[in-house]
């Protein structure tokens, strides 16, 4: 198999450094929670639905708790108390709280043991729901085999979930293995999850639990027809990271975009909020066996792909270390990178091969997510199609896991149905004619590609040492990633972060942490 000789001792050092960086952060994360984490607990307990103004009940209940200055203890015990007080089910209890028809902030009426027991019951049901989705997917995978990697990942983005459904089925019949429903552009900044099926969006379709269900059903139908398992993707990012993870788990999604730094850098979301929300979202993904995709590819859209290649690798190492803390197994780690080098540079393709092969060797067991060229895509669609074709060749040669199909009209519009078809023509062609190329070739020990890979590793080591010195938060504040500076206490969503009180409880998180990762 294609192989670059690398210094394994150096790789060990890099993984150690990344783990130390993640450790520093984990100390901070475990002391804090956020309104979005608390809303996620409610959703996992079964609180769903909206009021007459379409405001989700989970938001309304957490806002009430915040107003009563009780949020620092976490919502779990108060909701358990409300269940005891109402003697009704989750849905009705939530409505009673919303309508103010129930006393729920005075817990002295019940014994500590009763509340604890109720919390435990709610948490066990929540975790059982996560187990259920995992098992359902396992069953389906037995029936319809998983396609060979690299999986062909296509996006749909019409804004209308019903139109998306048609486009998704069309893409699958042309060869797609994975369908991502791109979100409406403003959604990452919404501090709530919209509700119900939606037919209007901006350059994408709103992520709602109802939309997840509609698309899941469509893809299940098409899996049956095509005889291969089709995976569904959405975004666990922005201000509702963990809540989306919960909705996705409940509707059997397979992959979620979930990056440790993307929201901070590219959506100006506060970094504390992001790290806290991300940890819980990843615990949920781990239990429900949802693959996460990280967003390192984005760094190269604002900074140079050769000069800053080391930031991609460093971020992959940090994402891996943080994902391990959240119990994600390697098969769930879709670490990201991209084919973004200026095509006019001589030997640009050799650089790309070096970077892609390096990622493959550093993380041998993960389904690497390889992103297509975007920055240098031209409005000359024929030229763009050529660039995508070489991207396809790099991907199959270096055995990437999840291959985002590049689309010839990337620089013009969200894809037309025929654009997707054309893109898949090239992907199918290259994957077929060069299927085992990677197994046949070796990279010269002191050739361009091997030297380049080693150079990147040396840069990564210096960089990780620097980050470890100052801490990841300070590194981001100083603009070390993607040339973007984000202050520790800047950005959106900081007001939703709080330090846990001594009596704080999150029994779902506790159970997930105690029971550990699910292997196999």
């Amino acid at each position: 198999m294609a192989h670059i000789p690398l210094n394994t001792k150096q790789i060990d050092r890099l993984k150690q450094l990344a783990e130390e960086i993640a450790d520093q952060l984990q100390t901070f994360i475990s002391r804090h929670s956020s309104i979005s984490v608390e809303r996620t607990i409610l959703r996992l307990y079964g609180v769903d639905g909206v009021d007459s103004e379409k405001i989700p009940l989970s938001n309304k209940i957490i806002d009430k708790l915040k107003k009563k200055s009780r949020i620092k203890s976490g919502v779990s015990r108060f909701f358990a108390g409300a269940m005891l007080a109402s003697g009704r089910d989750v849905r009705i209890t939530a409505e009673l709280i919303d309508q103010g028809k129930i006393e729920w902030d005075d817990l002295s009426r019940f014994s500590h043991a009763d509340i604890l027991e109720k919390e435990k019951e709610l948490a066990q049901k929540a975790v059982a729901a996560l187990d259920e989705t995992r098992k359902k997917k396992e069953e389906k995978l037995k029936k319809y085999p998983s396609p060979q990697q690299p999986w062909r990942y296509l996006i749909v983005a019409t804004g209308n979930i019903y139109e998306d459904r048609i486009q998704a089925k069309a893409a699958v019949s042309a060869g797609a293995d994975v369908i991502a429903v791109i979100r409406s552009t403003a959604q990452s900044l919404l501090d709530y999850v919209p509700y119900g099926p939606t037919t209007e969006g901006f350059a994408g379709t709103f992520a709602t639990q109802a939309n997840f269900k509609i698309m899941r059903q469509a893809l299940d139908e098409v899996s049956e027809k095509e005889g291969r398992y089709i995976r569904l993707v959405n975004y666990s990012s922005g201000l509702c990271m963990a809540e989306i993870a919960a909705c996705a788990a409940l509707e059997d999604l397979d992959i979620l975009l979930n990056d440790s730094m993307y929201g901070i850098l590219f959506r100006d979301i506060n970094m504390k909020r992001t790290f806290i929300d991300q940890y819980f979202s990843r615990l949920i993904c781990s239990r429900a066996k949802i693959i996460i995709n990280t967003g390192e590819d984005n760094y190269l859209t604002t900074s140079d792909a050769i000069e800053n290649a080391y930031t991609v690798t460093a971020s992959q190492l940090i994402n891996e270390a943080m994902a391990q803390k959240a119990l994600l197994t390697p098969d769930l780690l879709g670490l990201g990178h991209a084919f973004e080098i200026d095509p006019r540079i001589e030997n640009a393709f050799l650089y790309e091969l070096a970077h892609a092969q390096l990622a493959r060797q550093l993380f041998p067991d993960v389904p690497l997510k390889y992103m297509p060229p975007t920055k240098y895509m031209s409005t000359d669609i024929f030229y763009s199609h050529c660039i995508d074709t070489l991207f396809n060749l790099a991907s199959v040669t270096t055995e990437q896991g999840i291959h985002l199909a590049g689309i010839l009209t990337e620089a013009i519009h969200t894809p037309f149905m025929q654009d997707r078809y054309q893109a898949l023509c090239s992907v199918n062609y290259v994957f077929n004619v060069a299927r085992d190329l990677g197994k046949e070739i070796e990279f010269r020990k002191d050739g361009f590609i091997a030297k380049r890979a080693r150079q990147v590793l040396d840069e990564v080591e210096l960089f990780l040492k620097e980050i470890k010195e100052i801490g990841l938060m300070e590194a981001i504040a100083r603009g070390k990633f993607a040339n973007i500076r984000r202050p520790v206490d800047g950005g959106k969503g900081l007001e939703g972060v709080f330090e846990k009180a001594v009596d704080y409880s999150n029994p779902v998180m506790e159970q997930l942490e105690q029971e550990g990762g699910i292997h196999g």
Binding site: A170, A171, S184, T185, F202, T302, Y421
Partner: protein
């Protein structure tokens, strides 16, 4: 100027050959191909040849068609408001600001509305720039403030007033359902309401923008895809120094 009649060129002058590609929501069949042919003739083409018909999904067929275009165009009548701006490089631009303006130029830029794409505004403003051409942040004589994406119009205007901006750059990438037109117009409306229209040099940018469109929308210029930062900077310094000398004359 005399007439200059043109039409599309395939391999012989005035053969009018055009290549089209589109999808019809029908199953592929001889009838579907005929439908494609008829449709293209309804677009006022002749000698329609459907060279490729391919089922791309259930009930959808994609066609590649060649046909001869009928209309001819007198090229001498085609007018585009072109920039009559001398393109300058990084050093010339800084020099002019230093000599003629005696102060740094203030530029504020943002992607407004729901659009979350920073790619356009970053290409022009980020240090790194685009296509080996430095971004405005790199210019020692320009103070560039890039506010990023999803900035509300009010916030952008507030910032522009606050830093006494000379220039406002607005980028829009999403063109779906004419979102870019709406957002560009909303900012102009806000300026008009506050009576601040003349206060700033207004520049629009994005893949769906031409200079022509930007002028129609009420901007001073528009820059489309593949614009280099120095082209925008050349326009800015030329306009700002013109304004300055005009004021002096009054």
């Amino acid at each position: 100027m005399g007439e200059e009649m043109i039409k599309p060129y395939g391999d012989t002058l005035n053969d009018g050959m055009v290549q089209l590609s589109f999808t019809l929501p029908v199953e592929n069949s001889p009838r579907a191909k005929k439908a494609a042919e008829i449709y293209v003739s309804k677009l006022n083409f002749e000698d329609v040849s459907v060279v490729h018909a391919r089922k791309i999904a259930d009930n959808f067929t994609c066609f590649v068609v060649y046909a001869r275009a009928i209309p001819i165009l007198d090229y001498s009548t085609v007018k585009v408001p072109e920039f009559k701006i001398k393109p300058m490089d990084f050093y010339e631009i800084n020099e002019i600001i230093k000599i003629k303006l005696h102060r740094p130029l203030m530029v504020v830029g943002a992607t407004i509305g729901s659009d979350a794409h920073t790619v356009g505004i970053d290409a022009i403003m980020n240090m790194k720039g685009y296509d080996q051409d430095y971004g405005l942040e790199r210019y020692p004589e320009i103070n560039a403030c890039n506010m990023g994406a999803q900035v509300p119009c009010e916030e952008l205007l507030e910032k522009a007033i606050d830093v006494k901006a000379d220039v406002i750059l607005i980028s829009q990438t999403v063109t779906k359902k004419n979102a870019h037109i709406r957002n560009f117009s909303e900012f102009i409306k806000l300026l008009e309401e506050k009576n601040l229209k003349r206060r700033f040099l207004l520049i629009a940018g994005g893949p769906g923008i031409s200079n022509d469109l930007a002028l129609k929308l009420g901007y001073d210029a528009g820059f489309g895809p593949e614009t280099r930062p120095s082209q925008v900077a050349s326009f800015i310094v030329t306009k700002i120094t013109e304004q300055k000398s005009a004021k002096r004359k009054i």
